[in-house]
């Protein structure tokens, strides 16, 4: 069984969701034990933007039944800060690095792809398209046409595998996935978070500093599974499935539904070793074809 995203070949099918594991911070907390048994077959960075961002005002977290809303607001050091501060540290990880990038215009995306794509330490790029295009006012990832145009433009600028991170906040994610594939993407990852909000207890005001945010965790798993199933049926590039995966059995459901790879997101918060549990459990399930008759699809 092989796990591939375009030309990038991985050792096992479990990645992290962008923004749900910070390998640099985790190393501060857990030391080099982290590197000795690194959970993921590739590390996906938190999304970076061309310029530095402080992120949203607190509170940034809201807990929901079997899930959580985050409105973090993409705090990051910007492209230059990332390249000078973070990249050398991420290069020490024992696995390939996938850098997630986002901008609000074409030029910004181009700068990111040029800057990140030119570095040997980087194995692949993930395009976070859950962002407005300031020109059209549309969220790129909600529109097949916008996605197609963006990926086409970026495809020319790098040979590295390009993954498009799909948004679930749209009527037909499969149409966006097909647009990404046609424009030359090597993979799609889904789902990102679902727009959501919650009020401060006993108040009429939203709890989150930014008013609303994105829902993740087990609450969204059934939605994610359906979107993965539809997307995987529509494209033949790599599909990285995520959304509420907590156990190897959950991950196996995504793989049985057509995802060649999976990512662990919110589950990392409840257990920093969630990725190890999922990876090892999945290995047992995949080895023991008698227990689980999964019609696994490899890319």
């Amino acid at each position: 069984m092989s796990y591939e995203i375009g030309s990038l070949s991985l050792d096992h099918p479990v990645l992290n969701g962008s923004g749900t594991f910070d390998a640099i911070a985790a190393r501060r907390a857990f030391g080099d034990a982290l590197l000795e048994d690194f959970p993921f077959s590739a590390f996906v960075s938190k999304t970076i933007t061309p310029e530095p961002r402080a992120g949203n005002p607190p509170p940034r977290l809201y807990e929901t039944p079997s899930g959580m809303i985050n409105s973090i607001g993409l705090p990051n050091k910007g492209l230059d800060g990332f390249l000078s501060n973070d990249l050398p540290q991420l290069a020490e990880l024992p696995v390939p690095l996938i850098v997630s990038v986002m901008a609000t215009d074409r030029a910004g995306f181009e700068r990111l792809v040029d800057g990140v794509g030119g570095r040997d330490e980087v194995a692949a790029l993930e395009l976070n398209v859950s962002c407005p295009n300031v020109k059209s006012g549309l969220i790129v990832g909600e529109q097949p046409s916008e996605t197609h145009a963006l990926v086409t433009a970026l495809r020319e600028r790098t040979e590295k595998p390009l993954i498009v991170k799909l948004t679930p906040n749209t009527a037909d994610p499969a149409a966006v996935a097909v647009a990404a594939e046609e424009a030359g993407a090597d993979g799609v990852s889904l789902i990102n978070t679902l727009r959501a909000t919650g009020l401060a207890p006993g108040s009429a005001e939203p709890w989150l500093g930014a008013g609303s945010g994105g829902l993740s965790g087990p609450a969204v798993r059934a939605i994610a599974l359906e979107q993965v199933r539809r997307v995987a049926a529509a494209v033949s590039i790599a599909v990285i499935g995520m959304g509420g995966i907590e156990t190897a059995a959950d991950a196996a459901e995504f793989m049985a539904s057509g995802a060649g790879l999976v990512a662990v997101g919110t589950a990392n918060f409840r257990d920093p070793g969630a990725g190890i549990r999922v990876r090892n459990g999945l290995k047992n399930l995949l080895d023991d074809t008698s227990t689980l008759h999964l019609n696994l699809r490899s890319n």
């Binding site: 923004g19 749900t20 594991f21 910070d22 640099i24 911070a25 985790a26 501060r28 907390a29 857990f30 030391g31 034990a33 982290l34 048994d37 938190k46 402080a54 992120g55 949203n56 005002p57 607190p58 509170p59 940034r60 977290l61 807990e63 929901t64 039944p65 079997s66 899930g67 959580m68 985050n70 973090i72 705090p75 709890w207 500093g209 965790g217 609450a219 919110t266 990392n268 918060f269 409840r270 257990d271 920093p272 070793g273 190890i276 549990r277």
Partner: protein, 283 residues
């Protein structure tokens, strides 16, 4: 201290081995067979059976400062002081001996030695308020063991909220303030701090504080005004506790935010813009 003690990677189980009630609070002891001794000021992320059973909440683990840590043959005995304010703390407060916990830790930046806070400091001034006395208790014991002199000032709203006092055991050398005046100074513990800093050369002070945001903000302002060095143990809503989620944002004095779980929970008072962070801390 007091460099950060690293946590084993991944959540592990630990059993509750003792539980007692004190005032309105609960102190429980968990036996951590596989973890290291934490440093004062560090915290653990905890969850237990029954997580998710109140309409799907609590879902995320909850952060708790360690109030005492004692190495035994079977592992470290960790004491936590818990105030039941919502579904997570209520569940933890109701756990009986033998209940299983899932823990990650020790996490975060601990208190510095007084000499690191202020090379001129002869010792420590420790200020604790309400449920926030937990990390002060372990700090105090640590300093005592090292023979470093320290004064402890504790403030409580009233008898019902003074359960944390029990952590300070028999030792009587504690300055007390009660808002309702039924014992000690009538008023805020920060009044006692004002007095303490007046007597001393504030510039040679090393102040440590943990308590509700309003108290920490008062400590911050007093220390800034008097030129005293201080470390504050803060709270913020946390999803992960190890820098993964960027949820625990605390505004920095020079713009932007820190992640309290990895850059705190103990922060230098002059690092932050304010201790009053929306959504954070006990009332």
């Amino acid at each position: 201290m007091t460099s950060r003690v690293l946590a084993p990677f991944g959540a592990r189980t630990a059993n509750v081995v003792a539980r007692r009630e004190t005032g309105g609070y609960v102190v429980f002891t968990a036996l951590d067979a596989d973890g290291p001794d934490p440093a004062p000021g560090q915290f653990y992320m905890l969850r237990s059976d029954g997580w998710g059973s109140h309409g799907g909440r609590p879902f995320l683990p909850r952060a708790f400062s360690v109030a005492a840590a004692e190495r035994t043959a079977d592992g470290v005995r960790l004491e936590f002081l818990v105030e039941a304010v919502g579904p997570g703390t209520s569940l933890l407060a109701s756990l009986e001996a033998r209940a299983e916990l899932t823990i990650t830790g020790p996490l975060g930046r601990p208190f510095s030695e007084p000499s690191e806070v202020n090379p001129a400091a002869p010792g420590a001034i420790m200020v604790g308020g309400g449920i926030g006395v937990a990390p002060i208790a372990i700090l105090r014991r640590h300093l005592t063991e090292q023979g470093i002199p320290g004064r402890t000032l504790l403030g409580f709203r009233d008898e019902a909220h003074s359960g944390g006092l029990e952590l300070f055991g028999a030792c009587q050398e504690v300055g007390l303030a009660f808002e309702d005046g039924h014992r000690g100074h009538q008023g805020y513990v920060t009044d006692l701090l004002q007095v303490a800093l007046k007597g001393d050369d504030a510039a040679s002070a090393a102040v440590y504080a943990c308590g509700p945001p309003a108290m920490l903000e008062a400590v911050r302002a007093i220390c800034a005004e008097r030129g005293a060095q201080a470390e504050l143990a803060m709270e913020a809503p946390m999803a992960c506790g190890y820098g993964a989620c960027f949820g625990c944002a605390v505004p920095l004095a020079d713009g932007g935010y820190m992640r309290l779980c990895v850059d705190g929970p103990v922060v230098r008072a002059d690092e932050i813009e304010t201790a009053l962070v929306a959504g954070s801390g006990h009332r």
